[in-house]
């Protein structure tokens, strides 16, 4: 818990992958943030963001939503990203998920530097390296559970028997093997979110990004989903970033990042 109370930017960078007792004596805490990032790049960071800024134009005005965010995600690491509304959480998630390009800064996803001048390259990176879980589940209502997962695999370029086998594997992993032929309308909120988790896991992307995954679930079911998600991410060595307001998420996270006014604090 001590780690989570750190207020400095550098401490938030130092938290990844380090248990609290090690973090306390971490020499990185005493380094300049660029050194920290450089050091992190030499490790196995699967996602590295450096000095990310994002500015939107609103009429004649420019609004700066992110003001130099740097962070890393490592395989098997679960990170919670908290912050009040309007703090830039969703914008940061969109940039880390290669949905938006940053205005400035550097982003490296699974060893691939994202070229912010070439947004047309983003879908390929998303396809290859990122799995999403959304607050509203965003399942395709016309597709059954297994088809929802299979379709995501089709988009990633996996088709036929391979796609079906993988879809069934992940549905079994989230405990929905029995309900694989159910349409979303016939499933509970928790089950829908499990399908969404299965869809994110399918194709084994190294990075999983979840946006308020428990917001539409009751407390008990939300906790179940989080624990399952954590276990699967750990088991399959995926990096998981959860954007949340939900305090329960802290209990499954290795570390917590806090964003306020476009900066990690």
């Amino acid at each position: 818990m001590q780690l989570r109370s750190h207020k400095s930017f550098f401490s938030s960078l130092a938290q990844p992958a380090l248990p609290p007792h090690e973090a306390r004596k971490c020499p990185l805490l005493r380094l300049h943030h660029r050194d920290v990032v450089a050091a992190a790049e030499t490790t196995t960071a699967v996602l590295a963001a450096r000095d990310i800024t994002k500015t939107f134009r609103e009429g004649a005005e420019e609004v700066s939503v992110l003001k130099g965010v740097s962070m890393e995600l490592h395989p098997g690491e679960i990170v919670a990203l908290e912050g009040p509304s309007g703090s830039g959480k969703t914008t940061l998630l969109s940039i880390l998920g290669c949905i938006l390009t940053p205005s400035d800064g550097e982003l490296v996803i699974a060893g691939q530097t994202v070229d912010r001048e070439r947004p047309e390259k983003l879908p390929a990176i998303r396809k290859q390296s990122i799995g999403f879980v959304f607050q509203q589940f965003n399942l395709f209502p016309a597709l059954t559970a297994v088809e929802n997962v299979e379709y995501a695999l089709n988009v990633k370029g996996v088709a036929g028997r391979d796609a079906r086998t993988e879809a069934e594997r992940v549905l079994e992993a989230v405990g929905l093997a029995e309900r694989k032929h159910f349409l979303p309308r016939d499933m509970s909120g928790g089950q829908k979110q499990r399908v969404a988790v299965a869809r994110a896991l399918a194709g084994r992307p190294p990075i999983l990004l979840a946006d308020e995954p428990t917001a539409n679930l009751d407390s008990h079911v939300g906790m179940q989903v989080l624990e399952m998600f954590r276990d699967l991410a750990k088991q399959e060595n995926r990096a998981l970033l959860i954007v949340t307001h939900d305090p329960k998420v802290r209990t499954v996270s290795d570390r917590v990042l806090h964003i306020q006014d476009g900066r990690l604090v």
């Binding site: 799995g131 607050q135 395709f140 379709y151």
Partner: protein, 375 residues
């Protein structure tokens, strides 16, 4: 085999799919009925030309179509017969006359008059004996006349220009573009009916070219001997008659406009339903983009939905049109749907629906996948 999101999404909302298909079907039916009726009418305009066993038709100068004939001296036929390569030539009169009906009313009738009906396969579908036409005041009447003249039977009498004439046979399928009933009568009797206009005159000369003779050469020779007439091959004469009705009466334009309106209705219905559907599935399309799908992936979904709607609409529309055929035949309207036209309409329907789906493409191109994060 990939998951067919396009088809599943389309069929998931059955009511919307039904409305889309009905919209397309309506457009397809409209096009088939309009064009089919028009083709039916056009075939009426040339049905006699197509059945008459003549290679060449000699008409007065600039006769626009078979129904609007003008007369010229009947003796010209002798000049034609003397042309090398002509196997047979005969005068044919076509004239509009008045028939007095038992009700006291008068109706128009279009009479074809020949001496040797057998030689020219005229009429081509009839009951009775066509040779009897020369044996007295007899005529044959097409059974389509029932609509205008009322019921009639073989043996009944009708007055044509105050001459009492007996019906000695019924023909079938002898029609005119003007829907005036057709009748068949002996040549000399016809001339006698209207001596001021028809004595020693004819409307057409039918020509049969001898086997092995060059039709073009025979035609040129006849033309040189009859410089104040036109000489047409049967095909040209049929085309000229058709073109007259298409171009000179505004019917062609009318048909084009109706077909255009049908297509417009189809495009609007399909575009509207596909666009509404796209708007309702925007978040799903955003999800497709978020999981790595490109605009192209979504365009494919929309295009596939358009093609499915087009094919289903085409099938239903064609079935409607074919279902209407016998019903329309009962009121003497002939719906002609050639096989090739089916193919043209199918391709047109698919193109129409694809064009309509492109309205949604613009929305997709500007779709921000970040909307998936909005609650």
């Amino acid at each position: 085999m990939a998951v067919d999101l396009a088809r599943k999404n389309l069929l998931h909302d059955k009511l919307r799919f039904f409305i889309t298909v009905m919209g397309v079907a309506f457009a397809v039916t409209l096009v088939f009925v309009q064009v089919g009726l028009f083709l039916g009418l056009l075939s009426n305009a040339t049905v006699v030309i197509e059945h008459v066993n003549a290679d060449l038709w000699i008409t007065s100068k600039n006769t626009p179509n078979i129904d609007f004939s003008h007369t010229f001296p009947e003796s010209y036929v002798e000049r034609v017969k003397s042309v090398p390569g002509v196997a047979n030539a005969e005068n044919l009169i076509l004239a509009f006359m008045q028939v007095s009906l038992p009700s006291g009313a008068q109706e128009g009738v279009e009479i074809y008059a020949l001496k040797n009906f057998h030689d020219w396969n005229l009429p081509w579908n009839y009951s009775g004996n066509v040779d009897d036409l020369r044996r007295g005041p007899y005529f044959m009447l097409d059974d389509s006349a029932v609509k205008r003249f009322g019921p009639f039977e073989v043996g009944d009498y009708r007055e044509i220009l105050d001459n009492r004439m007996q019906v000695i046979g019924k023909t079938h399928g002898a029609l005119s573009f003007t829907t005036t009933p057709l009748a068949f009568m002996e040549f000399d009797r016809m001339q006698a009916f209207s001596p001021t206009t028809l004595r020693n005159r004819t409307s057409y000369i039918l020509v049969k070219v001898a086997p092995g003779a060059d039709i073009e050469q025979v035609r040129r020779e006849i033309q040189s001997r009859l410089p104040f007439n036109d000489v047409w091959t049967s095909k040209e004469w049929a085309a000229r008659s058709r073109n007259y009705w298409v171009q000179s009466t505004g019917l062609g334009l009318n048909m084009i406009l109706t077909v255009f309106l049908g297509i417009l209705v189809g495009v609007v219905v399909v575009a509207q339903t596909l666009y509404t559907s796209t708007m309702e599935h925007l978040k799903e399309f955003g999800t497709v983009k978020a999981i790595g799908g490109s605009n192209g992936d979504i365009y494919k979904i929309l295009a596939e939905q358009a093609v499915i709607s087009a094919i289903a609409g085409f099938a239903v529309g064609s079935a409607f049109a074919y279902g209407l055929k016998p019903l329309m035949a009962k009121v003497a309207l002939h719906l002609i749907i050639p096989q090739a036209f089916l193919g043209v309409v199918l391709i047109g329907t698919v193109a129409m629906c694809l064009a309509a789906s492109m309205l949604s493409f613009r929305k997709i191109a500007s779709l921000d996948p970040a909307l998936v994060f909005r609650a």
